[in-house]
């Protein structure tokens, strides 16, 4: 599994498409309004799925652990929303912490971890 993280709009998906030769049918983009589908090569915007989990009391890390064999050869992409100030709202705080915990777990399981900064990759693992 290859994990790509970074700030919003930094060009993570474009980088993944070029590097792993993905077309749109290979990519599942998460939404805060639905559960996750693990059956494509690339799972994009995982921070949207963690917001879904917070709103619906789902254990995001647990879901990923339970479905490990489905994503262990995938490309996973997530915004690093856990870098900023602690938000005032309880849901936003839980969202930030869940996303941080999930990314730490995914990093530990990943073959490679890259961070995208202004369209440029930085190898973390």
């Amino acid at each position: 599994m290859d994990l790509i993280i970074g700030g919003a709009y930094q060009g993570k998906l474009e980088y993944a498409k070029n590097k792993y030769k993905l077309d749109d049918s290979d990519i599942y983009t998460c939404s805060e309004n639905e559960t996750l589908s693990f059956d494509r090569k690339c799972i994009n915007a995982i921070q949207e799925y963690t917001l879904y989990c917070v709103k619906n009391s789902v254990d995001a890390v647990g879901e990923f652990k339970a479905n490990r064999e489905k994503w262990q050869n995938s490309v996973l992409i997530c915004d690093d929303i856990f870098c900023g100030v602690v938000p005032l709202g309880a849901d936003m705080r839980a969202w930030r912490e869940t996303t941080g915990r999930l990314c730490a777990y995914l990093s530990s399981q990943a073959d490679t971890v890259e961070r995208i900064f202004c369209g440029l990759e930085q190898k973390l693992k």
Binding site: P87, R96, Q122
Partner: protein, 181 residues
């Protein structure tokens, strides 16, 4: 040589950028392209602090809040330019009327064209931007549009520049190219 610098707020970007300009320009002219339009006392204090920071560095200040590449016509050909900051430039171009709050939809392209023109025509240029992309907040559509636009400028400059630097609490991370420090 073109250098792009970004990073968090108050991480030493401006001071670091000034040092790079001093080094790149050697004994040739150096220009501080000032983009910030002061709206209140807090802004005026921030600007006064920046002016005193660079007082002894021999910069000529070019006030250029919009139409950024016009700074080229007010300067010597062999000058080194410090554009501080891309963030303020986009704000000025996007929201020319601070009262209405309506965004100018052509602002993004105008900023990119103007900034790339500087990378192509200046002997040296150093661009300073702000990294505002890693927090857990759902912004209103105006702010989100601004963030997305600034990221598009950052990516265009990072592609065009020889050296891309992130400053993290005063520490330097090279994302592209290198310069001796």
């Amino acid at each position: 040589m073109n250098v792009f610098i970004s990073g968090g707020c108050k991480n030493g970007k401006s001071g670091f950028a000034q040092d790079i300009v001093v080094r790149l320009s050697a004994n040739r002219p150096r220009y501080y392209v000032a983009t910030m339009v002061p709206y209140d006392e807090e802004d005026r204090k921030r600007i006064a602090l920046h002016i005193s920071d660079r007082a002894d560095l021999g910069f000529t200040t070019l006030e250029t809040a919009r139409d950024i590449s016009s700074c080229l016509t007010k300067a010597e050909k062999n000058g080194t330019f410090l554009i501080d900051s891309v963030t303020a430039l986009l704000l000025n171009e996007m929201f020319p009327d601070t009262h209405s709050g309506n965004a100018d939809e052509h602002a993004l392209q105008r900023c990119i064209d103007g900034l790339l023109k500087i990378t192509e025509n200046a002997e040296n240029a150093v661009f300073v931007s702000d990294y505002i992309y890693s927090d857990a907040i759902r912004y209103d559509s105006f702010t989100e549009n601004y963030r997305k636009s600034l990221a598009a400028i950052d990516k265009a400059l990072a592609k065009a520049c020889d050296t891309v630097i992130e400053l993290c609490a005063g520490n330097v991370i090279f994302h592209k190219g290198r310069i001796e420090l």
